[in-house]
């Protein structure tokens, strides 16, 4: 119960194509996170799955049943809206009961479910209040409670934490993870916060301009991003990209020339790099270390951000920016030159189209 399968789902609003053919298989009990920049179609895709938006073409199946022409209510899914969408004139209890009353559920059963959900979400003291008399975090719980009482086969959450302050967000995030572990229901979670995505997801779906860029576990996306966009999107601060040219390529081995004129010897794995080809070298700010190594770069420090536990260096290398995150506290003066070693760093290579080149370091 709770498998959702999308095949070539397309959606246009008039002449505007928003989703360009989405294929996705969501397993039962999985927590899948949709991430992507604003306007990429996350909400539209979620609403299409919910049945609030009619798709232009393609198929949506829930537990093997095609639901293209099934109404939102009959898809067995529950939605938590970004604005919570609680009925302002009803008490919390009435909000929770509303959907169940629609289904003509016996009163005793409704009460039982409300009490269960209220206990789970710790909103029992507020059942008599109206949404306007609750804090943002409490409203958020009620919104989740309204979804839970219906015992749906899947939960759809559209940026459920975006109206909460930073601290509450972190704790609610943890509660959501616990809730998922407890309910074992399928959840689709939309966010543009990649930390939320990394911490919550079983699998992340990265969307851009209505297309899926990559699907994978958080660590898969972090370790082997399929293209430059995903590499730049997952991880904070985002990955450094340096333009490089292949200078001397032999099977399994290549020498890259970097914009500052330095050379870098890399193990090209199974990949045969083309002599003279331009490529992008990606390296995460946290993977650079201080000092000279077998492979190192010389960069000029432009700005320093001391965060206490770590130091963020904004450096420059042959006109390209290079961000370095060093653990602990360091002192540098702007303008000084430093050596950065790549020896411990996983390197990522992307071709001119931005696609990943499979190499080992």
């Amino acid at each position: 119960m709770g498998q959702i399968k999308l095949s070539n789902v397309k959606k246009s609003f008039g002449a505007i194509d928003v989703l360009h053919g989405i294929d996705l298989d969501i397993r039962d009990g999985e927590l899948v996170v949709f991430v992507g920049p604003s306007g990429c179609g996350k909400s539209t895709l979620l609403r299409a799955i919910a049945g609030l938006e009619k798709i232009t073409s393609g198929d949506i199946e829930i537990d093997g049943r095609n639901v293209n022409s099934v109404t939102a209510a009959d898809r067995g899914l529950a939605m938590v809206f970004q604005s919570y969408a609680l009925y302002p004139h009803m008490s919390v209890r009435q909000n929770l009961a509303f959907g169940l009353e629609n289904a003509r559920m016996p009163k005793a059963e409704i009460d039982k479910r409300i009490m269960e959900a209220a206990r789970m979400l710790e909103i029992e003291p507020y059942l008599k209040r109206r949404p306007g008399q609750l804090s943002g975090g409490q409203r958020q719980r009620v919104a989740i409670g309204r979804a839970i009482v219906r015992s749906p086969v899947g939960f759809l959450l559209d940026e459920p934490l975006s109206n909460l302050d930073a601290e509450l967000r972190v704790s609610t995030r943890a509660e959501l993870a616990a809730l998922h572990a407890r309910l074992k229901a399928t959840m689709i979670y939309v966010t543009h916060d990649q930390v939320e995505a990394m911490t919550l997801a079983d699998r992340i779906v990265v969307l851009r301009s209505g297309r899926i860029e990559q699907v994978g576990t958080p660590l898969e996306l972090y370790n082997t991003p399929g293209n430059r966009f995903v590499a730049g999107f997952i991880g904070a601060p985002h990955m450094n990209f340096l333009q490089a040219a292949v200078e001397n390529a032999r099977p399994g081995h290549a020498v890259l020339s970097l914009p500052d004129g330095s050379r870098l010897e890399v193990d090209a794995g199974r990949q045969v790099l083309q002599q003279g080809a331009a490529l992008t070298l990606g390296v995460r700010p946290q993977h650079l270390t201080l000092g000279k190594g077998n492979r190192s770069l010389r960069a000029t420090v432009r700005m320093i951000e001391a965060l206490g536990s770590e130091t963020v260096l904004h450096t420059e290398l042959g006109g390209q920016k290079l961000l370095v995150v060093l653990p602990g506290q360091h002192r540098f003066s702007p303008g000084s030159e430093i050596d950065l070693s790549l020896d411990a760093a996983p390197l990522h290579f992307f071709d001119e189209k931005g696609l990943r080149l499979e190499t080992s370091v």
Binding site: A50, G51, L52, T71, A72, A73, D74, L77, A78, M79, F81, S83, A85, L86, Y87, P88, H89, F98, G99, N102, A103, R130, P131, G132, Q133, R146, R150
Partner: protein, 344 residues
Amino acid sequence: MTVSNADKPTLPERLGTIVKTPVGVVMGLIDAPMRALQRLTGLSGMALFFLAPNMLIFGIFVLLPLGINVVYSVTGGSALFLPERTYVGGDQYARLFDCGNYLDALTCQEDAFWTAVGNTFWFVVLQVTFMILAALVTALILNRNLAARSFWRAVFFFPVLLSPVVVGLIWRWILQRQGLLNFILYPFGMEPYNWLTDRDWSFMAAVGVSLWAHMGFYTLILLAGLQAIPKDLYEAAAMDGTRPGRVFWRITLPLLAPNLIVVIVLALIRAVQVFDEVYILTGGGPGTSTLFLTQYIYETGFVSQPRNPGLAAAASILMGLVLVVLTLLQLGLGKRGENKGKRR
């Protein structure tokens, strides 16, 4: 601002200067006397100074006539000028209330007054009920994603912009014996009928024409209220599997209630004052079948022979009391709505 910009002002800057310069000159001129005045009167005195023009106009054109009206209502005779009138105390009121049986206007000394009261009562009940229902239904339809929505919205609002006299004339042309309605019905075998000389039809025409003339205004308020209801509540209701009727009764109506109450009270206040378009349409007839309070007051005070300004004044004070009650109701409900808004 950079130096290069400073010597070449942009168009908005130039316009700003054009507006600012005369204001600056005037301000400079009145600055000194104002300061002197403030030193003389203190800060609260200044507030009174600025309020005075408004209060003066309000006093002369509203408060004073109101007071004079009260005085008239305790005087008798047909003279128009106050010094020529005699004091009669509460006689005018007593005359209005002198009835054998309050349920039968004909047993009253001032039977026209009570006929007008009865007519006005039924007019208010029917006109407000049907108009609000029609406005609500229209607003609900306009609130859908209808093609050419702004066009339809304008269509329903246009009658509101017409002068009441024009409304009355238009509908007289439609409803009179040689009018448009009979012209349309004639091919269907209807004999020409003078709708406006039939007691029941003319009353219904008064209700219908006034409904037509004012409905657009209330439709617009209700439509604004409907559009203020967040769309995602309806989506949540759709996810909850709510049937359309239940969506209306449990979501739309409660959330529209504050607007609806305001609209009803406003409509009540205006319906009690019904006069102009109906007066043009039927002149109060046939007989007294469309005689309403305002017309009664006007005719008693200025038209009838002998005229009786005192009696008219007394009747208008009674009508004023009804309006005061309705206005207080509206203010009270408005305040409650505001407080509710704050909590949300």
